[in-house]
Amino acid sequence: MDARLLPTVDLDTIFRPRLAQLLNVEEMTAKEKLFTFQLKDGTPLGQDPGQFVEVSVFGIGEAPISVSSSPTRGDTFELCVRAVGNVTNALHRMAPGATVGIRGPFGQGFPVEEMRGRNVLFVAGGLGLVPLRSLIHAVLDMRQDFGAVTILYGTKNPSELLFRNELAQWEARDDVDYQVTVDVADESWRGNVGVITTLFRGLPVDPRNTVAVIVGPPVMYRFVIREVLGKGLPMGRILVSLERRMKCGVGKCGHCQINGVYVCQKGPVFTYSELRNLQEAI
């Protein structure tokens, strides 16, 4: 094109992270830690529930991590991270006081405003609770704005359960129906055993006024979406958040693309109706 038509650009580019200080590290399980950060410029992160950030461990690299805390809870933010790659293992070696880089928040989060007034059915599988927690907190902090709240949570085994203190709080609340299951129990486990779809048997869901929000490993979506469709929910009120390799976060690098859609731009949160004809999505 005519170079004069090209946009003027900020030389402080889209690839420059802001610095953030690690304030606290809490061990969640053998593989996951919860990190609390604050941006060094003092500003809040400004995330919507469901958005992600690109975290830099300088010298190691950058990785996309979903924000686990709700914007309704203060100026710090939390990332729950499994040690699985170079960047995440480096994060796990960090102690409070360390500095990381943060770009974002990026992507489209959960449509909280459109969910107001409705029943919310949360379905979390494994690490899916991490992004979902940002929305659960936001909904519980504005509890009177929502109808019935149901949280279904499943992990492979009891040792993988995240945020145990909070799980106990949700269990204790009268205004939340919290149910948990594990694929394989151990000696200490007294609860449900079975994959997450077993929690749907007899689960009361009002299809006229419920939003289902499902986050979990790729294999889970196919089965759980089938369950909520079976409860009569319209495809537009089934929300999912998709994991992809969002290398740049700004719609350029191509790694997160599903068919013609850049997940970092149009997602990671989608309605099932947006995905139903994207063959590579689910």
């Binding site: 094109m1 580019t13 690839f15 300088f58 690299g61 360390a98 880089g101």
Partner: protein, 342 residues
Amino acid sequence: MPLKVIEKRDVEPLIRHLMERFQVVGIKKKDGKNTYGVIESPAELRLDSCATITSPKKYFFPQRETLLQFAVDGSWEPQAVVEAQPRIIFGMRPCDIAATWMLDMAFSEVNADANYLEKRKRALIIGVDCKEPCDEYCFCKSMGTLEVETGYDLFFTAADDTYIVRTGTPEGEALLGEWGKAREALYEDRVKLRAVQREKDERFKEALEFDVEELPRFLEDSYRSLLWDVLGEKCLSCGSCNLVCPTCYCFNVLDEVKLNLSEGERYRVWDSCQLEGFAKVATGENFRERRGDRVRHRFFRKGKYMKEMFGRFGCVGCGRCTRACLVHINPIEVYNQLKGGE
């Protein structure tokens, strides 16, 4: 924009003149092959050669490019790095000018990418018309990129002992004006230009058996075709097609620490959607594990997704991927196989 005329014998002095102010890049011989490279002396520039292995995108989007400098311990604010210099690309072909338009769109929209755009804006593009097809692999005529109306500052068409020069921008016009040796085109020059264009058009043949506007529909109708399995069984997933493609712009981002271990830089490098790990996430899930799915993704990007995003095809018909492909996957053949859907 005015039409100018330059005598062929004046081109070398023109290049010498431009080299005083700009880095001049053009097609030259390297190890017996045509390639875009920095012109060290005017005689090197081969305005008549075509079919370069790689495309001139490397001057706007280098194979490796620094994005950031940082302290490993985060003790100072990371600094964005944008490298750009005044540059003239002399002799860009119509297909590559069309491809540059595509990259301009990709790096401009939504989040403007300064690393690309600064290099692009500081470059002047002098196009040179093709006389005949590079070889049996190029199919620019079918992709609608045989002629370009915009995207250049100047555009040279050889006619007898002269180049008839279309000016595309005031910057291009100023470049010639300040040099002073181009004359205004006369009526006979315009007649000559039209004759050359007509002869050129006759030498290029249509390679597709259908109107290219049908391509997105043919692709969509063939999403589940066994053709992708067949191509997947042939493809070696080497990524050569991506490296030579003038419109491929996917990249990876990596960190490198300096020897002092306290500072480092972040850089991006070209990446390939054909490599096995391209869509793999840290937990091990690979969202495009099958080779046929990766081949399909590339063809869909070029023939459908980019068209939907930017309004033009991601394939400009340059034929580079066919020449580079070790197993002779040829988009002309693939597109023609798609005709009529499944």
